[in-house]
């Protein structure tokens, strides 16, 4: 049977609407089935939870091997093999991508979410997400200027087939750890939260199955939140933005049906209402995503296709999560105690890290230009 018509359909504007809707619907259902509120899917938060489960940070409330991350990579790999797009490649400034991954994560954990979660937070009524999305757009706009003036990280080159399999194999290993939850030492890893967001999760098999579908479809449709905004601003192409709109609408409608919409600004679930740092966190994340060529979800999908450079970005994000929690950089959510709302936000160290991150990204953007 030829797979071409199916492939062409998924690459069309309807394909991108379908993947946006699928992510929105699945995320809202995963939330209903146990994932944290307004966090049916969050690539940054879930990578952070994995870092915690492995003991790379010890924030006891955010430690769990999230099957969604594994599913995105493995689902993408399956699609790449079926459609003959698996290509082991690497060599496009991996150290720069690693650093960009670290700061992308620090920015995302300042806002408390990746672009996917920003959309899902909005679909759940959290209006702080609007500030985050404005920040993301500003970051992408700045990144676009660098692209216009010749920024690029150079070419990648074909590498060994087995090298392209490293990330999927790591994910398969994590799946093994998630299923058997071994304890390597007394009081040691693997860690699983018993309270907090890390303790909230849908059944493993459902999370895994759902994310395999998302990974598969994302590989075929090339869905990328950062790319959708970038393409509108840079080349006036609305193709990918349709997916974003579909994601928000579908997640909102399913949330409405499931009673998961609560409009407001303060004390939204796992969110803070410190607008300046919501904005600046996402400026940093957006800028880092443009310079690295994809949002966190897209980087996972590329990792599944054999892209070693995207894999290094993912590992950078995991490392960034460890720094964010070990150094107290990650934002604290708003909380209500005895009827009093305490607005969360970032520590002084967190603020400094965001500013340093923006400066590092700007230096990377200015200095890594090449005439091709």
């Amino acid at each position: 049977m030829s797979v071409k018509p199916f492939s062409r359909f998924l690459a069309s504007k309807w394909g991108i609407v379908i993947i946006g809707s699928v992510i929105g619907i699945i995320a809202s259902i995963l939330q209903k089935l146990g994932n944290p509120p307004n966090m049916g899917i969050c690539v940054a938060c879930f990578q952070r939870d994995i870092a915690g489960a492995l003991g790379l940070h010890r924030a006891s409330v955010v430690q769990y091997i999230r099957p969604e991350i594994l599913g995105f990579v493995l689902g993408s790999m399956v699609a790449a093999f079926i459609f003959r797009e698996f290509k082991a490649r690497t060599g496009s400034a991996p150290i720069v991508r690693f650093v960009l991954g670290i700061f992308a994560m620090i920015g995302a954990l300042t806002f408390l979410g990746c672009p996917w979660r920003a959309l899902l937070r909005l679909a759940g009524g959290d209006l702080n997400a609007i500030v985050g999305l404005i920040g993301l757009t500003i970051g992408i706009t700045i990144g676009d200027q660098f692209l216009k003036y010749g920024y690029n990280l150079g070419r990648s080159y074909k590498t060994y087939f087995s090298a392209g399999l490293i990330m999927p194999v790591i994910m398969a290993g994590l799946l093994f750890l998630a299923i058997f939850s071994p304890k390597f030492t007394t009081n040691g890893a693997i860690f699983f939260s018993t309270k907090g967001p890390g303790a909230l999760h849908a059944p493993l098999i459902i999370s895994l199955g759902a994310s395999l579908i998302i990974g598969f479809l994302s590989q075929r449709t090339r869905f990328c939140t950062m790319g959708s905004i970038r393409d509108v601003l840079l080349i006036g192409d609305p193709h990918f933005i349709r997916g974003i709109i579909a994601l928000i609408i579908s997640a909102f409608l399913v949330n409405l049906m499931l009673g998961q919409v609560n409009f407001g600004i303060t004390a939204q679930p796992i969110a803070h209402s410190n607008h300046l740092w919501n904005l600046l966190g996402m400026v940093l994340a957006g800028l880092a995503f443009v310079l690295a060529g994809g949002c966190p979800g897209r980087q996972l999908v590329l990792s599944g296709e054999g892209d070693g450079d995207a894999s290094v970005f993912v590992l950078g994000m995991v490392t960034g999560a460890a720094f964010a929690h070990n150094f107290g950089l990650a934002a604290k959510p708003d909380k209500i105690l005895n009827g009093v709302v305490y607005v969360g936000g970032v520590s002084s160290a967190g603020m400094a890290a965001v500013i340093i991150g923006i400066l590092v990204c700007v230096i990377i953007g200015f200095t890594m230009r090449e005439k091709i």
Partner: protein, 67 residues
């Protein structure tokens, strides 16, 4: 004119094509080595009123754009 965009990650192949379109090139070729870049350039070319012809060799796509 030939543009070699092989190995370049998204959105570089599209940007290089865009630059050629802005320079009012009426006939040029872009070489890429991924389906993704091929699809993106195809979409751009069609939006900008170019005809596009795609030749696939073992490892590369040769996209010939004409107006």
């Amino acid at each position: 004119m030939k543009i070699d965009a092989c190995g370049l990650s998204c959105p570089q192949p599209v940007l290089l094509t865009m630059n050629a379109i802005k320079d009012n090139k009426l006939f040029f070729e872009v070489m890429v080595d991924s389906n993704i870049a091929c699809e993106n350039i195809q979409r751009l070319a069609e939006n900008k009123g170019y005809k596009i012809q795609i030749k696939k060799t073992e490892k590369k796509f040769h996209l010939i754009l004409t107006k």
